[in-house]
């Protein structure tokens, strides 16, 4: 575990803030310090309280740390993927989201993508390729998707057309653990 490289951190801030709004990364970090761990070619980013840093600075190398604090996400092949750990917080920090019907929510948590007929609300300023939070009618975050089209074109789409591709959803907890 080590303090995050400023260039890496700059890339993380850029990727999160561009898609989810300026200042989101700063709010996610709060008064914590970003640290990173490598797993093969993937770098995982965590935010930990500053007083942990002073306790760990001389000993982190002797400990086999697998997970620490708040997991923000990971970078693999240059692309930052948000962790499920911060979804709840993200809901309060961003307008980049889609609200889906009960049926759409259930399908999404089974790993399916989102079709037009499931969409209840979508911010019309969002664009194709942008990552968005997927919320149910109670505004609970179910995961993250990638828009397949510009949000402004939603009303012209047929009911069964793909609106957003599932990137990660909370059904992963069941699928992973069985």
């Amino acid at each position: 575990m080590e303090l995050v490289d400023p260039i890496d951190w700059g890339s993380v801030i850029e990727q999160i803030d561009i898609e989810f709004g300026a200042g989101v990364t700063k709010n996610l970090l709060g008064n914590r310090v970003p640290v990173t761990m490598s797993r093969g070619s993937t770098k995982i980013f965590y935010a930990i309280p500053t007083d942990w840093m002073s306790r760990l600075i001389d000993t982190a190398e002797t400990l086999d740390i697998q997970f620490i604090g708040k997991e923000l996400g990971s970078i693999d092949k240059g692309r930052f993927r948000l962790s499920l750990h911060i979804l709840g917080e993200m809901t309060e920090l961003t307008e980049s989201c889609i609200i889906v019907s009960r049926r759409g929510a259930e399908a999404f948590t089974y790993g399916r993508s989102i079709i037009r007929e499931s969409v209840l609300e979508l911010n019309t300023s969002l664009v194709r390729g942008q990552r968005i939070l997927v919320l149910n009618e109670d505004r609970e975050c179910l995961g993250i998707a990638s828009l397949s089209m510009d949000a402004s074109k939603l009303t012209r789409m047929g009911a069964d057309r793909l609106v957003a591709k599932n990137l990660v959803d909370i059904g992963w907890f069941i699928r992973r653990l069985g």
């Binding site: 400990l63 697998q66 604090g69 708040k70 948590t109 609970e140 907890f173 069941i174």
Partner: protein, 327 residues
Amino acid sequence: MAKKEIRQLAKELAKNHGYLQYMIERYISLWGEEDTLKFIEACEQPIRTSIRVNTLKTSAGMVLHRLQKKGVRLEEIPWLDDGYYADFSGSSPGASLEHMLGFYYVQGVPSMTAVSVLDPQPGDTVLDLAAAPGGKTTHIAQMMKNTGLVISIEQDRQRMSSLQSNIIRCGATNTMVLRGDAKKLDNLPFKPDKILLDAPCSGEGLIPLDPTRKTSKTMADIRFCATREDEMLVAAVNILAEGGTLVYSTCSIAPEENEYIVDDILKRYPEMHIVQIPSEFGSPGYTDPYGIKLNESLKLSRRFLPHLHGTEGFFICKMMKKEGNTT
């Protein structure tokens, strides 16, 4: 009852109910014939499902309301703040949206009780040894309101992923997960205020949940587990801060893995003493199992038994380390 009689009775009961004979002999020696029969019968009954409301994500009121709307019947567990018996009427407790959102954790009553006995407070530094799959780690994090530091140690790579998944699902952000041997804690740069050692054990108490345990372990397995448990407990005692609290628990019925282990620790480490558990549950630990006299204070420890409490078998002992030089 004479030994020959015990053996004869045990042979018959073991054959009729699918146990290894030595196990029934031990139960008869420990409890007598009547309670052994009750135990065997109780192990054929399903254990009630129980959940812990995860207050890191939501309130008990919210979860209860949502689950009751879905037809789940809930009943408070008197000595647990956030623990409930939950009858899901055949549907899977782990498949609900509320579970995916981390609103509750499906957890056994004795396991929840072990953390409740530890009583971690906001700001504490707590060590959870043999932590996977994370039920107790996340419970500790919840009781600490995501403050302080929970250090979870797990050696098994495969179980590690379930530990991390549950930490993420439950929204615990005050944890540090280390891969390592819980018998070797010397290089930890922390002196924990509290330690929970829910030790890997023979698992004999889990027969109601897993009937294969009627025949899967021998006395050699129990002795092996006991040796390992002793090593882990010694490591925990050595790293515990003065004035700190250590809760030792297992899901074994065997006194060799429970009272004998603690008794030995009390002899070797006079700075450790057993303390009263303030809440009412279970039954007292044994002070003379099989006629072997142990430290009287073991009656302050607690046991859960299938035939007395309707749960899986479990042992919980709360100890404290005295402050200052006591040797």
